[in-house]
């Protein structure tokens, strides 16, 4: 096999590096999208789910007789009818120290959050199924519950899991250097407690599962708008006790947003296919928004107790952070808090680090990754303190950052901690000073400070906030792609991962076309169906470009070699003289002489039944490649925000938002900018508007978009974007992830900007989001009743 090439110079590629418009748009703009509930399923029963309306209760009895007898109801299932699948839904990322508590697909005895499934009604349609929910009589014995990490960690707090002595789920410490000694010897030490509230994913399409047992092929077919089809198939195969080949998991071609919650594994995904098999009739369940609020995983709640030690010049000597993380009622995974632990140091040289996680159970819907995944909170802890150091020393915040940045010649840079992928936290590449310079080229600091002072005279309070971050992306274990030459002479790229708007059908056609050298119009991309490719992991953690991208590149490069070798055999000419042009393989200096890709497919793939093939001629032009990154690739970025704060109303107006971003090689700038812009909007939401509130005992208080404020076009400014390109040495495309970088720095930069604006008041921003009441409390010193 010839040596695989690498892409380093996008000037020489036909498609990569161009902002090619999306192939997906035509169907989506015309109402022809293939979202799960848009598929023509026909005669499927519809399910509705009864959910616990107690944050903590023991179920004494469930009477489903009245519901079952309702006209149009097919069946009602509770735990007692579902014995064979009452199996644990294990956490995605775990730790030997985890205080492990079993999570079942449906409540067996104890309900531990409002929204936990208690019963499933299957009916002729959803309307009847919801009627029947109201006829189910559940006798609950209410138990004491906790609605926040503060409540959960209090001495004598009621246990979320009866029988467990503590609500602590896991207590982990990572250290570099000697942080305790460094704290004692540091000339300056600052301490603060910072809180970030819960927020949700809020994909506009909620979750959905449909399933049908196909008798003739004895295969269970499951449609699931998941980010990770192969992962769901594997979980189902394990729980049902069948081989993976007995389940075909299809993530529909269109999925209406993911953002993390759809990468998790839920009880509903176990219940619906099983019930379809039990009833021997297809069943679907379409989550409504209220269910999504109370049963889809969320994120963000963390309280950080952070200390920094530094010298007279503002150089960091030590960082110590002890933080509480809300795991929710069960541990869906430890990825989020472990990402927080290692995201703390960011782009700075910090010789001594203490990063300590206290994760606890609460009687709230479980948490898991959500765009940013533990990073926004870490950046809040680090970047808020960078501003405090600047304030303490009377320096510009930008200058304090500049003095501490890892320099471009220090890569690979070993931080001294471990990342969530299990590998040492070693940054592969980056240029952090260039990110800071990019902002300073766009904001004249001296001019801004003068304007800030002038504005105060007329009662206008302007502030500038910066936040920098380093973001582990492109994690393992692997991602796969299969590339085929089809009978029509086209190239079919099959991906394991399913997209939720990222434009895979466009960008992976660019990758394959450039690797093969054929006309891009000959390349088709499909995805999300486990029958297309045997193994895969899924779309999460900004990982697909740097895992599936190289897999497509490798498989396509191999396919190119095969195509040319077949053509060489057909033309009886040395393969070195052949080139692929358009839909043909031609002799380089004699283009008249050549064969079409369709002819090559006919010879190599269709073949002549029963006839032998020349020794050097490849057959079956189909290559599957699994790319396995050795470690995460580290993207980086900076946010600069200029705000005006109304000190009478607490309203924050964003006057400028600048985002510098480095995700290595940019394969399609249009799509990368789309990712960054979308992430930025999510970050604005987290910084100012979005908050999932709960009462002290775990009653959700925000279960509609009238209570939970998602930002609209009125709230999200268009940021000024710039790119720094530090290609990753870890993969042949030089790429890193871009899906979350827009979100990560915003809560910190906005908070820094608001505190900067309110410096004349000595206001201290300690809680995010910065809702008007929090801003006013910070200005005027009101006490807020935080649960």
């Amino acid at each position: 096999m010839t040596q695989l090439s690498e892409v380093r110079d996008l000037e020489k590629t036909a498609n990569l590096g161009t902002g090619m418009l999306r192939r997906e748009d035509q169907r989506l703009l015309t109402g022809g999208g293939q979202f799960l509930d848009d598929l023509p399923f026909g005669d499927f029963y519809e399910a509705a789910i009864l959910r616990s309306n107690y944050a903590h209760a023991r179920i004494l009895s469930i009477d489903t007789e009245a519901a079952k007898s309702l006209n149009g109801v097919i069946a009602v299932f509770t735990a007692s009818e579902l014995g064979p699948i009452l199996k644990d839904l294990p956490p995605k990322v775990t730790n030997p120290k985890l205080n492990y508590q079993v999570r079942l697909p449906i409540v067996k005895e104890y309900a531990r959050y409002i929204g936990e499934p208690v019963a499933v009604v299957v009916a002729e349609n959803r309307y009847i199924a919801e009627d029947a929910l109201e006829l189910i009589e559940v006798e609950y014995e209410p138990l004491e519950s906790v609605g926040s990490t503060a409540q959960a960690l209090k001495e004598g707090a009621p246990p979320v899991h009866i029988g467990s002595e503590t609500n602590v789920a896991v207590h982990l410490i990572q250290q570099a250097g000697d942080p305790e000694a460094a704290l004692k010897s540091s000339p300056h030490v600052l301490r603060e407690t910072l809180h970030v509230a819960r927020g949700g994913g809020h994909s506009i399409e909620a979750r959905a599962v449909a399933a049908r047992f196909d008798g003739p092929t004895q295969q269970l077919i499951v449609w699931d708008n998941t980010q990770a089809p192969h992962y769901v198939r594997q979980m189902l195969a394990t729980i049902y006790g069948v081989s993976e080949d007995e389940i075909r998991l299809i993530a529909p071609a269109d999925i209406g947003g993911g953002f993390g919650p759809k990468a998790q594994f839920y009880g509903e995904e176990v219940l619906i296919p099983w019930i379809a098999m039990e009833l021997n009739h297809p069943v679907k369940w379409i989550e409504d928004r209220w269910e999504n609020f109370i049963s889809a995983t969320m994120e963000r709640t963390q309280t950080h107790h952070v200390e920094v030690g530094f010298d007279d010049d503002g150089r960091l000597l030590v960082l110590k952070d002890v933080f509480e993380h809300d795991q929710g009622a069960y541990c869906v995974g430890l990825k989020v808090p472990t990402i927080t632990m290692s995201t703390l140091p960011g782009p700075y040289v910090i010789p001594n680090i203490h990063s300590e996680l206290i994760s606890c159970y609460t009687n709230i819907v479980p948490t898991s990754s959500l765009r940013g995944a533990g990073r926004p909170q870490a950046v809040v802890a680090m970047e808020r303190m960078m501003d405090r150091i600047a304030e303490h020393l009377g320096l510009e915040p930008a200058e304090v950052r500049r003095r501490n940045l890892i320099q471009p010649d220090q890569f690979p840079y070993a931080v001294g901690l471990t990342f969530r992928d299990g590998s040492p936290l070693t940054y592969d590449s980056g240029n952090y000073p260039a990110l800071l310079d990019g902002v300073l080229e766009r904001i004249d600091l001296a001019e801004f400070r003068a304007e800030q002072i002038e504005a105060r005279k007329s009662g206008k309070f302007l502030g500038l906030g910066l936040a920098m971050f380093v973001e582990g992306t492109g994690i393992g274990p692997y991602e796969g792609a299969r590339v085929r030459l089809t009978n029509t002479g086209r190239v079919m790229v099959s991906l394991a991962a399913s997209p939720q708007g990222q434009g895979y059908e466009t960008v992976y056609a660019q990758v394959a076309a450039d690797a093969i050298g054929c006309d891009i119009d000959l390349v088709s991309v499909r995805h999300g169906d486990t029958s297309f490719i045997p193994y895969g992991q899924g779309t999460f953690a900004s990982r697909i470009t740097s895992t599936a991208g190289p897999a497509v590149w490798q498989a396509s490069t191999q396919v190119k070699v095969d195509i040319i070798d077949v053509a060489a055999s057909m033309l009886k000419i040395d393969s070195g003289e052949l080139v692929i042009r358009g839909d043909r393989v031609e002799v380089g200096d004699d283009p008249e002489k050549g064969v079409s890709l369709a002819e090559i497919a006919s010879i190599a793939n269709v073949g002549r039944h029963g006839m032998s093939v020349a020794r050097n001629q490849p057959v079956a032009i189909e290559r599957t490649s699994y790319f396995k990154p050795s470690q995460a690739a580290y993207s980086s970025g900076i946010s600069a925000i200029i705000v005006s704060v109304d000190v009478e109303t607490g309203k924050i107006e964003i006057l400028r938002s600048i985002l510098g971003h480095d995700c290595g090689t940019v394969l399609n700038p249009l799509l990368v900018e789309g990712q960054v812009l979308g992430g930025h909007a999510h970050g604005i939401g987290n910084a100012i508007y979005e908050e999932a509130k709960y009462s002290k005992d775990g009653q959700p208080l925000t279960v509609s978009y009238l209570d939970y404020a998602l930002p609209t076009a009125m709230e999200v400014p268009t940021p000024e974007l710039f790119h720094v390109v530090s290609p990753s040495p870890l993969n042949p495309l030089g790429v890193k992830g871009s899906g979350e970088g827009g979100t990560v720095p915003l809560p910190a930069s906005v908070a820094n900007a608001v505190e900067d604006a309110l410096r004349p008041f000595g206001a201290r921003i300690r809680e995010i989001p910065l809702t008007p009441d929090r801003v006013l409390a910070a200005i005027y010193g009101f006490q807020r009743d935080e649960t």
Binding site: L29, T30, G31, G256, R289
Partner: protein, 172 residues
């Protein structure tokens, strides 16, 4: 319809006559069927999507008469003798309308789930007059929620539409 009130809500049905994307039809509908479910399931036009089912996100927006309305908050019964336009009406033989084309050219959609509602809200808005400033564009977009794009592409799409000397409807 007063006689139907006595019936089991699951059984109560009525006839409606409605014009959808220019074609008039008569349908027997459950009285409690939402207009969104009617359009999606009974008429078979799934391009209208449901995002929140409480009138906030705007994904289900259609045009009824001359108004953009939330089809999740209306019953099919309320569409009797009305004329309805959905996203499926915008392109002709697969050729995108100028508004749809502007969305495509400006990367104004990602997952595309909310897109139908945005398009229909904007079609109704553009019939009232052209969008001539970013502030007007943002206001026109502000009744719908998109979680993917950050709205930048949509603002750019609206700003790219021709507005010939104050004449309205340049984007339809």
């Amino acid at each position: 319809m007063s006689e139907a009130v006595e019936l089991d809500p699951a059984e109560a049905k009525m006839w409606i006559t409605v014009t959808i994307n220019g074609s008039k039809g008569t349908y027997l509908v459950d009285q409690r069927l939402t207009l969104a479910d009617f359009i999606r399931k009974q008429v078979g036009l799934p391009g209208t999507h449901l995002g929140c089912e409480h009138g906030s996100c705007g994904a289900c927006t259609i045009i009824m008469g001359d108004k953009a309305v939330r089809s999740c908050l209306l019953l099919a019964a309320q569409a009797d003798r009305e004329s309805i336009e959905t996203v499926e009406s915008l392109a002709e033989d697969g050729v995108l309308s100028p508004l749809q084309e502007a969305f495509h050219a400006n990367h104004a959609l990602q997952c595309g789930y909310c897109t139908s509602g945005f398009l229909m809200s904007l079609v109704a808005r553009l019939r009232e007059g052209p969008i001539e400033s970013e502030a007007q564009a943002r206001e026109a977009l502000s009744g719908n929620i998109c979680r993917c794009t950050g709205y930048t592409g949509m603002v750019a799409a609206l700003m790219s539409l021709p507005t010939p000397n104050g004449q309205s409807g340049g984007a339809q």
